[in-house]
Symmetry: C2
Subunit: 475 residues, 2 copies
């Protein structure tokens, strides 16, 4: 029989968690708390292969006050909190910590206002990205943040991870589309920074403390989003080039000739291009015997009226010797067909599973050499491994997919180390757009100096001294 | 005769400042320190009317290590430090504190690198903005940050104040043009965040702690700047509209029709337009009997080729009833002539001195009503006061100039209170682009909540616990 002292701690914990749950129920309402097997399986994971711990409860507050109350209670009880959006992250940033309260933002699924005269929208953190895109469109605007998870991801999660996507080259990251934020701090304080002006230099802009913080410094509850003018369509071309220097030259030429209107510049190396043709059966717009393929897109008010300028840009690129071969989309349907080559990655991933996938960035000038070096290093270390390279190269972002890895490097750790060591040597980032979460924690120091890590820890201590917000993530 | 204890403190201070100066001389070199009357008069003020205290010394380090050494020493001696760039600020952010070491960045006047393949430039904090603009141009690019002080302001100061200027509507604030930063912290720690990628989500982006912090959290020593494609010229029009709603409609129409290519949208209310015609003798491109005048500009690769599209946009605006009258520039010289109306503010300021000048922002939709309310309030309170309204309205930024104030409100305080109370009621900012410095400290709480101010103070305590960096500024 155990000594009484042996039992005291668990009993206190039990009492303590009972008190916590009672307080939470009072704060957010009985029906907004789930426990044990009532917690949906989906709340236990995200789109990565990270596995977290067993949560204490899943809480779904319906407004900012309820989020603040829930955080105040968890803070009082020293209980970890894991904020969850659409759980579409690829870095494990939203998977449960052991014994944590999962704080779902799904109850904050609101569009509060569309101010067409100011070109902005006010939304709740739980609003699905696609709903925001469609509401902007209906109002004659565009909300240009766009990524594969658009139908499931929530804007709060996009903000917390500073999501990137397909059109960063023209419209920036999520950060660049956020005018204002409302955030609840670790102790339940509501910090309203709901700025509606493109220009506001009344002291430091505090919203940048939370954009990209992955829920470790505060919980985003509302946002003021910047809208862009609506677009009527796009011109696009699939351009084959001889090497990366020609690709970079083509981008520079296109940006100059089109006055910075390039909305996407996606590169696909030959290995990717052949793989996507083989796996998807899409017809090749250009022969598959070139080194690199660039998908250039220019969205605009009137795609037909803008086509001559787009074609003139490509003709001049031909004359300058930058282009080996090219196909120009003659309709919006052909624009979509070109994009299906890029979107075909989803099929490649399922055909080659299990794969290991990278989201890295390198200064644009060095991408060509970096890709060559990674390819050579992996060929040497893992001769049987299939690797494909592609990505939002106009933004310095490369993705590579290696796999199946089953019989080659089942944990993927050896492949990761080989790739990230080259990324470090090139002054690149181990996470271009997906964030750090759990998955990339071991590699963070490859892209951030000791002084930067010290400053990140200092901010965490200052804003969340009890360490209850998304503990164990990022740092 | 004073007691010995009465004399001890000054004597220690004397000894202490002798030790400090000896250490600083060793760190940065004898020739880089000036004291007393050797300190140039220009170092004692900026372009505002703020007056600071008497500095202990002016130190001009020649590299980052010397900046770090100087800060480490001042930190050890608990001595305040005031960083100084080109001292062109209008808020008093760079005027001396009593007994402070002035830290001039003029010795860090370097362009380290122009990477044309990545579209970026690496510069020292002391580099003059115009030199950066010209170097970008020579390399076939554009560095689009542009403001009246371009020939004197330093990029480090632009970054510390998150400077705005004429083309924010297309290229953003200084923040949006900074990829990476090197900062020296209060205790002399060098924090290198010299990122070169548009996409980098490897943990929180720390540079935003320092952009717009006005030298209160760290001293910017180097930066990686983002370059835009070079431009060949501009199309521009001066458009008279019946009211603010028509102006806002015109902007929305133009952004849509031109696929977001508007590079400037400056409004001049009738009072400004008449004043600039009277004070400068510039010929009126459009009759001076309309409510508001918009200067619309679209920079681009080839102004001649882009003119038909620009004209079509204006014709459609006419047909939609948005335009009362308009003149379209037929040459780059006429584009400049239109800008001379806007730049004529310099002459108005000198003719009407002493004036009181405002740099405020208001959500775009509310600018028209806000201007009307401010005009009415000032007419009631100060019937003899002349007031003119203009500004970067496309970015939500309004400037207004009131004066001469000599016989009406000599301190300007009554006028300030009247204006800022209306700005507060409209949810606007007391500083759109100039920062807070000393000048706007009394009004900061009009635009930031108590929780925001508490967070700003908390960050200050965490990053600069001794409070030596630009003390008394902003907070």
């Amino acid at each position: 029989m155990p000594l009484e002292t042996d039992r005291e701690e668990p009993m206190n914990l039990e009492r303590s968690s009972a008190g916590l749950l009672t307080a939470l129920k009072r704060a957010v309402g009985d029906s907004n708390i789930k426990r044990g097997s009532d917690i949906p399986e989906a709340a236990l994971r995200d789109w990565s292969d990270e596995r977290g711990g067993t949560p204490l409860a899943l809480v779904t507050p319906r407004d900012t006050d309820a989020v603040a109350a829930a955080l105040r209670i968890c803070h009082d009880y020293d209980t970890p909190v894991v904020p969850q959006g659409g759980r579409t992250g690829l870095a494990g940033g939203a998977v449960p910590s052991e014994g944590a309260v999962l704080l779902s933002m799904a109850g904050l699924d609101r569009i509060d206002e569309i101010d067409t005269a100011s070109g902005l929208m006010v939304v709740g953190a739980g609003c699905i990205l696609q709903r925001i895109q469609e509401a902007a469109l209906d109002a004659g605007f565009s909300f240009p943040l766009d990524l594969g998870a658009r139908g499931s991801c929530q804007i709060g999660g996009n903000i917390a991870t500073n999501a990137g996507g397909n059109r960063v080259i023209r419209y920036g990251m999520t950060r660049d589309l956020v005018l204002g934020l409302e955030v609840v701090l670790a102790d339940g304080t509501v910090l309203s920074i709901m700025n509606r002006m493109p220009k506001n230099n009344a002291a430091l802009d505090l919203k940048h403390l939370f954009i990209g913080s992955e829920g470790t410094l505060g919980v985003v509850t509302r946002a003021v989003l910047k809208l862009h003018p609506g677009v009527g369509g796009a011109n696009a071309a699939l351009v084959a080039v001889a090497d990366f220097e020609a690709a970079a030259g083509l981008l520079r030429h296109a940006q100059r000739a089109l006055s910075g209107r390039v909305t996407a510049f996606e590169l696909m190396w030959n290995d990717y291009y052949r793989a996507v043709l083989a796996e998807t059966g899409v017809r090749a717009p250009v022969e598959p015997d070139h080194a690199i393929y660039a998908l250039i897109e220019m969205q605009g008010a009137d795609a037909d009226a803008e086509r001559p300028g787009f074609e003139a840009m490509l003709e001049a690129a031909f004359e300058a010797g930058l282009v080996a071969d090219a196909a120009i989309a003659q309709s919006q349907r052909e624009v979509e067909a070109f994009w299906s080559l890029r979107d075909g990655i989803a099929e490649i991933l399922s055909r080659r599973a299990p794969t290991i996938n990278f989201d890295v960035s390198v200064p644009l000038a060095r991408i060509g050499a970096c890709v060559d070096e990674i390819r050579a290093a992996l060929e040497t270390a893992f001769p049987a491994l299939k690797v494909i390279f592609f990505g939002h190269a106009g933004d310095s972002n490369i993705h590579l997919v290696a796999g199946p890895i089953t019989d080659i490097d089942p944990t993927g750790h050896g492949i990761e180390k080989a790739v990230y060591e080259i990324i470090r040597a090139y002054g690149g980032s181990v996470s271009a757009e997906h964030g750090i979460g759990l998955h990339k924690k071991p590699w963070l120091a490859y892209s951030r100096s000791e002084n930067e890590l010290a400053m990140l820890r200092q901010l965490k201590r200052s804003l969340d001294p009890k360490g209850i917000l998304n503990p164990g993530k990022v740092l």
